[in-house]
Symmetry: none
Subunit: 244 residues, 2 copies
DNA sequence: CGGATAGAGTGGTCTTAACCAGTTGTGCCG
DNA sequence: CGGCACAACTGGTTAAGACCACTCTATCCG
C-alpha cells in the first residue's frame, strides 16, 4: 500500500489511490478508518479527509458518523447529462452529428483568456469555432480555447467527427477528468442567428465549460451557444441527511 | 467586526459573516486578506478557508492566487451539485431572499399533474405559486405542486422565509433525498414579464424539478421561470477512466 | 530613463495535535 | 437472564504553524 510517485498534489494522489482501492469493492462495503489510512499512506488526516471529501462529493464514497466510510451505492458517477445525446461529452447517439469548422488557429491568449486557462497572456492559444449540426440542422456554436502546447499538431480534421476527448487522450496524452460548467439564458445575436438558422433574439443557452485533466491542469475553456428549442439539460441531484 | 453568538459550526458562522460583509460590496471588489480576516474574527486560517471555500463553490467569491479574493460577478449563482453546505435547496447565498406567495390552495391533480406526481387524477394536490425576490428585485416565479396528504396543515407562512425543505423534514417528516432537474432556454410571456419586471420575450431559464424522498416517493414537482440576466446554473462534472 | 530584481503580500498545501460527537460491543450489576 | 453503562472505536471540527507559488511594486543599477 503506497502512493504513486510524487507528481501532483498529495491530496490528488491520495484520491487516486483510493479510487483504485475502491475499484475492486462491492457497493456499500466499508473502507479502512481514516486514522488507519493515514498511517498506511503516510499522510496527515486533513489531507486524507480532503481526498475523501472529493470522493464523497462525486458519490464514490459515503460517510456515516460513528460507523465508518463506505463505497457509494452506484459506482459510476455521471453528474450531468444533456439531451438529446445523453452526455455532453460522449458522441451523441441520437441523430447524425457533424461539425463544421468555422475558424481554426492560434494566437496569444490575451488577458481574459490567460486568466481562464491559467496561462501567461503571451502564451499561444488554439481557438476553434465550430458549428455543430444534427441531421442537417444547426444545433450549436462552440468556441473552444486550448493551450497550444497541449495540442501541437492538432488539425481541423481531428474535430470534424468522433470524440474530441478520445483524440486528446490517444494522440496527446491528455486525460480529461472533470469540468465545471455554467449555464445561462441568452438570446441569439445577429451572427449566431444566421449560423443557427433561427430569428435574431431567439431563446438560447450559453454554456461555459472549463475542463481539467487528471492533474488539475486546465485543458480547455469553451463557450457555446445552443438553440433553445432543440436543447435541454437534465441533471440528477443527491443529498445526504444533513441537507437543508 | 465580530461573529454572531455561538450557535452552530464556527465555519458556518464565519461563512454567514462573510455573506453579510460582502452584501454591501460591488462586484469584483477585494475582501481583506485571509490572514487579516483570521485576526479580525479570531479563527484559524483552515476554518476561515473552509468558509471561503463554500462561498467560492457557490460563486459568491473568486480567488486569485497571489492577488487576493474578490466578490464574484454580480449574479445569483446556484451550484447544481449538492455540496455539504451550499446545497441546491438552501436559499442561494448572495443577497436577501424573500418569497411573495401569489397563490396557495389545493385542487384535484388532473391528468398531467397526476402523472408527474404519480398520484390518482382525483387526488388532492397543493399548488403554490410564489415570486422569489432578492434585494427587492424579482428573480423567479416558482410553481410548486405537492401531494396534499404529505403536507396537510402547511400554511403560506411556512414558505415565506427560511428553508422549505427543513419545514418538510421537521414538521412533516419528509426527508428529501434526490431530485431530477431539467433546464431549458425560453423567453418570458406577458404574465411572467410583468411579475419579473422585465420586457416581454426576455431571456429566461425554465427549470423543472421532480423531488423524491428517501423512499423514492415523489415529494414535489416544480416548474420555475428564472430571469436570464440574473441567474445562472453551475455544475461540476466528474469522469472516470472510461469516459470518452 | 528603463529594465531587471528583491521583497512583501497574497492565496495554496500540508503537518501535527487536540477535542467533540455519534455508534457499537462488551461486561458488569441488578 | 436482562438491561444499562462504560469503553473503544468511528467520523467531525478547529487550532497553530510551516513552507511553497504566485503577483505586484518599489528600488537599484546599468
Amino acid at each position: 500500500m503506497t502512493l504513486n510517485t510524487g507528481a501532483g498534489l498529495k491530496r490528488d494522489r491520495v484520491r487516486d489511490f483510493l479510487l483504485d482501492f475502491v475499484a475492486d469493492m462491492k457497493a456499500g462495503e466499508a473502507i479502512p478508518s481514516e486514522r488507519d489510512l493515514c498511517k498506511e499512506l503516510g499522510v496527515s488526516r486533513p489531507t486524507l479527509r480532503a481526498a475523501i471529501d472529493d470522493l464523497v462529493r462525486s458519490g464514490v464514497l459515503v460517510r456515516e458518523h460513528g460507523r465508518g466510510t463506505f463505497t457509494g451505492p452506484h459506482r459510476v458517477t455521471q453528474a450531468l447529462a444533456a439531451t438529446p445525446s445523453g452526455s455532453f461529452y460522449a458522441p451523441p447517439a441520437e441523430g447524425h452529428w457533424l461539425s463544421r469548422i468555422l475558424e481554426f488557429g492560434s494566437a496569444p491568449a490575451g488577458p481574459q483568456l490567460a486568466r481562464r486557462l491559467q496561462l501567461a497572456p503571451a502564451a499561444l492559444v488554439l481557438r476553434v469555432v465550430r458549428l455543430r449540426v444534427v441531421d442537417d440542422e444547426p444545433m450549436a456554436i462552440e468556441r473552444l480555447h486550448l493551450p497550444h502546447v497541449l495540442v501541437d499538431g492538432l488539425v481541423p480534421d481531428d474535430m470534424e467527427s468522433g470524440s474530441f476527448y478520445r483524440v486528446l487522450r490517444e494522440r496527446f496524452g491528455v486525460d480529461v477528468r472533470s469540468a465545471v460548467q455554467t449555464i445561462e439564458a441568452t438570446v441569439t445575436d445577429e451572427t449566431e442567428a444566421v449560423l443557427l438558422s433561427v430569428p435574431e433574439h431567439f431563446p438560447a443557452l450559453m454554456v461555459e465549460r472549463t475542463t481539467r485533466d487528471v492533474n488539475g491542469g486546465i485543458v480547455e475553456f469553451t463557450r457555446s451557444i445552443y438553440r433553445g428549442d432543440r436543447y435541454r439539460v437534465t441533471s440528477e441531484l443527491h443529498f445526504d441527511a444533513a441537507s437543508g
